[in-house]
Symmetry: C4
Subunit: 160 residues, 4 copies
């Protein structure tokens, strides 16, 4: 469905087992990834998931490394509890899969192993990020996407 | 004519031989490519043809190979009947020509040889894609253009 | 002056010697380049001059060659009287100068030596293009800028 | 706070010691950098500070050199008192720091050592630029950001 045509009537309320409890339609196959995040990060009130050029590129470039490392940028301070550009943010990368039960388990482990991560990439798929409010989730999204583009351009520039 | 100035009165209805049957004006020279697609893909209800930076670049980069190969991306699932990122999409590339009768024949053959292709590129010219509705054609367009840009940037990055 | 704040009262009518004949204010220092184009291309009714990322880059990349060569692209057909992608468009590049009298002379010569050119670049400065109507000048601008970006990206990609 | 949600009631008036004298809230930690600029450049009536892809990239590429050199571009004339593209603009780069008192001292020295600079970069952080009016500060911002992008693309293109 074209996201540009979304209206409130299309929204679906689900419970923590991923069952629809209000609204009409079938929950998305990726619902299980959302409930994992709400479970592992109990303060979370909003999750954003986007497919963009630069998050797709960086997830592919660093798939073997297993994470994208972002450091030394002032905009890291856009991430909650980060107070200095000297912060090192590791954004874990999971292999993509159509088996969402398996993927949910891996996401759960990854969130436990990276308790301070602000986002997780799926290889050649997209970014999950979250926050204690919709505004915070959006701030995390904007900060991470900006940093993915800067870092992607820097690494492929052959300079500095 | 500037597409930004198009109004309904400019639209032309044509038959399957490319003759105008409603509206005023002369059918475009590329009309024959549209009717070939409607013939070879009988479920098609809408065709989109665009000239963009990245489809032009990729058509040129892979002109000798004869196709652009897209694989491993979640967004491939934006193409009808594709249900996994493990799908391999080959987008055939035809040499460009001003002889549209010849080009129509080549397009016809290409569509038969690639029964599951969702789009065809003309070298240094643009993309043809289609769908069973205007919405599906547009979804195919967005998915393919996104993938052309990601794949173009990846291939020229020297990394991953 | 911020072009976003332009209103009709800011426009100035000039004669072919570059003297203001209606409106208030002083003609731009580059007026002499406009009158040269109107003189050398008598069918011209509109001239557009823009500073963009890609025309600046290509003017710099090819300053020593003296022109940008665009060939093989379908969008060349956006230029008046060009009917095939096999057309070769040479966009001459002049050294930039703050001596507009000298620059006007060089532009005049360049236009005579390149009677079929649809635009001229000033090195690290910008593009001049024109047309028999504002719509045609704009079509030329859009075609040339698209081609500068494609060609710039192609040449720096290391591929195809 | 999301800048897209700013309304006049969010604005804070401060004195030259960085103390709020009107409005509600606490001055930003970077306030001290603004007052240094007003002090060292007494004609300044507006300061702009932005984080962009290209200023971040160039500040990183040239951090060791200590400045970005911009020369030969017509758009340099967008900077006040610059009347020729032959101008050399050096944009100094400071190491980023969370100690704003130290950073303010370094900025003060840098402004004295570069009396004709129109902007200063903080490494991997952003640009400060200013003007005798909001319009002039914005013109400086647009000119510098355009030049950062052109120069960044030129340097990483491997050509010209």
């Amino acid at each position: 469905m074209d996201k540009g045509h979304l209206v409130p009537a299309h929204l679906l309320e689900i419970d923590m087992e991923g069952r629809a409890i209000a609204g009409r339609g079938k929950p998305s196959a990726e619902t299980g990834l959302h409930t994992v995040i709400y479970r592992e990060r109990p303060d979370t009130r909003a999750i954003l998931h986007v497919h963009t050029i630069w998050n797709t590129l960086l997830s592919s470039m660093f798939a073997q490394t297993g994470h994208v490392l972002l450091e030394g940028y002032e905009l890291l301070k856009g991430l909650s509890e980060v107070i200095t550009h000297e912060h090192q943010e590791r954004v874990p990368i999971l292999a993509n899969s159509q088996d969402y039960a398996v993927l949910a388990d891996q996401l759960s482990q990854t969130l436990r192993q990276n308790p301070r991560a602000h986002g997780v990439l799926l290889n050649r798929h997209g970014l999950y990020t979250w926050g204690e409010s919709a505004a915070e989730a959006r701030r995390h999204l904007e900060a991470l996407e900006f940093l993915f583009e800067v870092e992607g351009r820097r690494l492929t520039s052959g300079i500095g």
